[in-house]
Subunit: 240 residues, 2 copies
């Protein structure tokens, strides 16, 4: 608890040497110093956040400057996949260098009695690592399948898979999940004792990602109905 409205800024990185600690044990870089009671290193929690999110934000250094690009992704076990055009500078940059991938789910706004203690309920994951281009064609195909299934589970079987030309134009980059941490804030505002006497409402406004009914493509042929996975789309995905 430290500042108005932005508990979400609280992740810190006091130390720097990327220790070899895996998920489950924080590295010097992933150890959360600000609001450490919010830090989570368990793989199950990290995976659940990654699997619910639709996009990530990819940070990299390009000629000494920071860059942050939104991107779809997929997770497979201990690996995260990004992909794009072979001409994509971000991918070419992280395929040979360091990357920081951040996934954030905003769950609610936390309204305290003081401006200072306003906050956000959220779940986030930060991954540090080095990207690596996927050259094995089987892994590459699977990464593209997983990416589509990550965004829209059930979709892959209905569509034309990538042909050779499309695959050749696509660069897939693998990032290991060895160095990842989650940070989570849940629940009520935490006010100063004396502020509870104020005539001020306090509580949480929950925020959800709400899918709407699917909209047919303008060129859709007559007689083709939207599939169940589009009609009943939701995050997080319901898994049997």
């Amino acid at each position: 608890m430290s500042n108005p409205t932005a508990q979400i800024t609280a992740r810190k990185f006091e130390q720097d040497s990327p220790a070899g600690a895996g998920v489950g044990a924080p590295s010097a870089r992933t150890i959360v110093k600000r609001g450490p009671t919010r830090a989570v290193y368990e793989r199950e929690t990290i995976n659940a956040i990654l699997d619910e999110a639709i996009i990530c934000h990819v940070g990299f250094v390009y000629q000494d400057s920071p860059r942050v690009i939104p991107c779809v992704f997929a997770r497979s076990g201990d690996v995260l996949y990004l992909h794009g055009s072979t001409a994509n500078r971000m991918l070419r940059s992280i395929a040979a260098g360091e990357v920081c991938i951040t996934v954030t789910l905003v769950d609610g706004l936390v309204l305290a009695r003081s401006a200072f203690h306003h906050s956000v309920n959220y779940r986030s994951v930060v991954i540090y690592g080095r990207g690596e281009a996927v050259t094995d064609p089987v892994e590459k195909d699977e990464a593209l399948r997983l990416t589509l299934e990550h965004a829209i589970p059930g979709r892959w079987g209905d569509v034309r898979p990538p042909n050779r030309k499309e695959t050749l134009r696509t660069l897939v980059v693998r990032v290991p999940l060895d160095e990842a941490s989650a940070k989570i804030r849940v629940g009520d505002p935490v006010d100063e004792d004396e502020d509870h006497a104020l005539e001020c409402w306090a509580g949480v406004i929950p925020l959800h990602c709400a899918p709407q009914p699917p909209v047919d493509d303008g060129l859709l042929r007559a007689g083709i109905a939207a599939p169940d996975y589009a009609l009943a789309y939701r995050r997080p995905v319901q898994r049997d």
Copy 2:
């Protein structure tokens, strides 16, 4: 249109020297090379995206490594404000260095007939600049007010404002919006001509940020009702 599911990766940065071009004219760094028909440099469009978003992702370089942290923010005219604890390394870093701030609104999933042409409808803004600590106490107070009002319009008048101790513990950083660009994808999938013959549904699953009814703080005093700005909370904010 280039690759499966990830048109959103398409922002590119072929050139590097940060030219002095303001909003309305792309700089060498903000000019969008991939999918350039999606690029927007008009200030009105950029502002609307910034004003709708609740959080941004702040990228910076710390000891040669990229870092990306989610953060609340506020916009005031040509300036964006970030804030947090005076102990916050991100803020201390960007108060004296380069930053890339990215805001992304995901509007829908675009389901094409081929895996390759799946995409995301989105609106994003990328800002490049150098942060600067706000030392003027009037500007600092106003930045904190604007940040709360950005997240929850109408809230500031109901809460206890920051006291001297809280303000002293808070660092506010100003980032100019001189070098910003937006990128937007809207509408239907764009399939290969021959794929229109497939027996495959195509279209868009729209996604919205859906606020839920406010939840009272467990310590709320009896007889205090949730205010209208919480009951009717929505993004984008309705402005008269």
